[in-house]
Point group: C4
Chain length 266, copies 4
């Protein structure tokens, strides 16, 4: 087995349930631990007392992490040519780069290099958190995550329609509330885009209480909207519940055989 | 094919899943884009900075939209006589006008003409948002929307009973809370209709925090009501969930065969 | 048919789905309309402007309603002896009086007579709202209400256990929160019974925002409690959903026969 | 039957559905009542007016309770050696002590003895509430609790994955919100760990309203997070619902027969 192929197999974890050998597992664990430490570093780095005391340590840890992630990314980019799908030296690699997973990996290192070109460190530091998404790769080990994925895919259209209905509900309720309350509270409901804030916070039943209607018409509308908001919970919950029930029944009917005569049932 | 029939077929989209030809689709897309631009125009028109800069553009766009919608509405009204259901020149057309979909189309243009008779532009502008409901026509293309419709229809009675139970719960909790809190907070719980606002906001778990009980009896009642409010979520969610499971099972059993004689059961 | 039996049949509506004749239905509708008008009278009677203007009208309507309800109650009490279950002149009638439905009817009139003995009109007026519960009798006409009843009964034990778990959760979270926050906010968390208010309002996700923890330990606890609160929704919703699915499947398997050969399936 | 075995049988309630005789039941009821009185004592002991008046009574009740619980714990520790699993005089007893149920029993008495060594009575008193967990033992009598346990165990992995997704969602939303709002409200969003408080209270839809974003970017993020928060309800509810449906179907199919050979399956 040539080096390219070997590197590919160490770096890409895509055969769930198969034994991979110690070297592979050790590498996986190392990368995972690094990701978690990175996220903790970003979080603690925002706490003033921690930042003051450990500034240089955090900086060096960042440099080390980015070095590891960059080498890993480049190694994977180099090794991907061993696969027939990405075999073309240029276009195959570009194709590999545009896979969602590879995009996340790039987003995990790019912010660091951007700090040499931009002064807006705030935005760049936020981007570093995308490293957490790399944890999603772990999902392929878990049958539950695959079950969630199947349910989500099979109910894709229903969830999309629900999302559209929510969007229409948010826009309609914000618009009507604006026309009801704008005169009474021009500072809290100045225009429809601002009223969307109230609309979402009421439909999701968060209800901070920073903005709420005071006119009788506005209150009547808000009550109607809050009750309709229950539908925003009922639909996705009902869809997910039915999806789980369906998946479970599929798995059962896939291969039930009678233990007595051995023939397949249902 | 005469012109009336041709116009009818272009304007009315009621054969889901069938190819309609390029002219028809282009017209659909044009009307849809116009609806969305209208909604965006209404929303942005309320933002002061936008209104000041683009006042005349928004006005001309409104005139253009209304012209298109009016012509479309009249064309449809004229063409509907080609269908046997609406064949009578006067009563057939009146019957067409009172279909819910045709009512929405009328509501989409009428506000504009009302501006010539009334000075209350605020209310008229709000009515323009009804144009968004025209998007509902898209629903007939989607099998998910039809599934939602079936679930909703088959659970119609259960949902109505749930709505009645909610109404009784809202009235009862508002009334008891009024008698518990009115003396302690006469400005926040002045009468039962005003307490309904607190009642709905607590039962839907929105909880703005602008009104809440302070007496021990009021607090005990509120805790009971908040816990009962969970039932307001549990019932509709359970009903929808069961409805989805049922629909899925119906679709499956559509092609099952009787184990006794082997024939298919509808 | 003697008079007693006839009166009983007019007053007691307990044969759903059977035709009852015009006299019976007219009486039902009359009592129902009276109940709704009573509830509206109680609600509007609390609005000051209404009370001032219509005080005597409301008073006379109350006297009239109580007269009707009292006569109806006494007539039913007199007529119940025609049934074998309540045939004993004294004990049969006492037994009838202690049925839940008869208790509600008594509660609907008793408050009025109490006003002659007590000066606490406030409490007495609140009791008048119990008349709304008489609407529950309508439920026996609806198959959905009977379905809800069946689901509720079949899941009785699960719902009781859920209620017990909620109670333990409320007490435990209130107690721990008291020990975490009492020192920092002695006015907001003065003792455990007062902290129960915070506990319920957080677990039900109402979140008024009048009381919330400020110490790091209190906040950590509150976050844990809020997340556990999701379980307070998940359990009853899941139980109801499963109950509805179960009932629907029961109804199906009750009497499915193959339409081709006529034999029973399942 | 020797004394050790007899004591074991009185103290350990682990054969649900079996008759145990009057002595055993009386002992169970006595311990249960004592637990409930203890919890009530802890709760009322925090109310100032009660504490002042009944201080010595509460103190003596505490001493009495701890004496009973200690004797019961020691008796059980002594008697457990009668069981083959814990037969070793030292290691068997240690093994018994580390069972979760035995740990709870120890936690129920230990706090009292700690008061002789520590001055932090506040923390010690909080620990006394762990006595309430002893009520969990009752659960083994209830078939519903066993059903909940089965559903929970069968959906263990799905619930764990959901918990992980929630954790990632909480961390990500807190981090992004920190970068969006820190500059505008440095006192409310001082660092990411503090922003987690906002994040949890929004995702669980509690929404106290003590902290909320004010910048357009922060508000847009918050709306997205609040809508995603619905998923935090939808997933566990859907999982539990499907779990209950599955368990019910399992119980039914327990006695189904294979349609090919006629023998029972499962």
């Amino acid at each position: 087995m040539d080096l390219k192929k070997r590197v590919w197999e160490i770096l890409e974890v895509d055969r769930p349930g198969e034994p991979r050998g110690k070297v592979y597992d050790a590498f996986d664990v190392f990368i995972l631990v690094l990701i978690f430490l990175n996220v903790i570093a970003v979080i603690l780095g925002t706490v003033k007392s921690v930042e003051v005391r450990f500034q240089s340590a955090l900086r060096w840890f960042e440099v080390f992490s980015v070095a590891v992630f960059t080498i890993e990314y480049l190694a994977r980019l180099w090794a991907c040519a061993s696969q027939s799908r990405y075999s073309h030296p240029v276009f195959g690699r570009l194709r590999f780069m545009f896979r969602p997973m590879a995009m996340i990996d790039l987003l995990a290192v790019l912010p660091f290099y951007l700090t040499f070109f931009t002064a807006d460190l705030r935005f760049v530091r936020a981007l570093r958190l995308f490293r957490l998404f790399r944890v999603a790769k772990l999902g392929r080990y878990s049958s539950s995550v695959r079950l969630f994925g199947r349910v989500f895919r099979s109910k894709r259209e229903e969830l999309f329609v629900t999302a559209m209905m929510m969007l229409v509900m948010i826009i309609m309720s914000a618009s009507f509330m604006y026309f009801a309350e704008n005169e009474a509270q021009p500072d809290k409901f100045p225009d429809i885009p601002s009223t969307v804030w109230w609309s979402v916070m009421t439909l999701t039943t968060v209800g901070y209480g920073d903005v709420f209607p005071v006119t009788p018409l506005g209150r009547a509308l808000a009550m109607l909207i809050a009750i309709l908001g229950i539908g925003m919970f009922a639909l996705p919950v009902g869809i997910f519940g039915a999806g789980f029930v369906e998946e479970i029944q599929k798995q059962k009917t896939r291969k039930t055989t009678c233990p007595h005569c051995g023939e397949e049932i249902g």
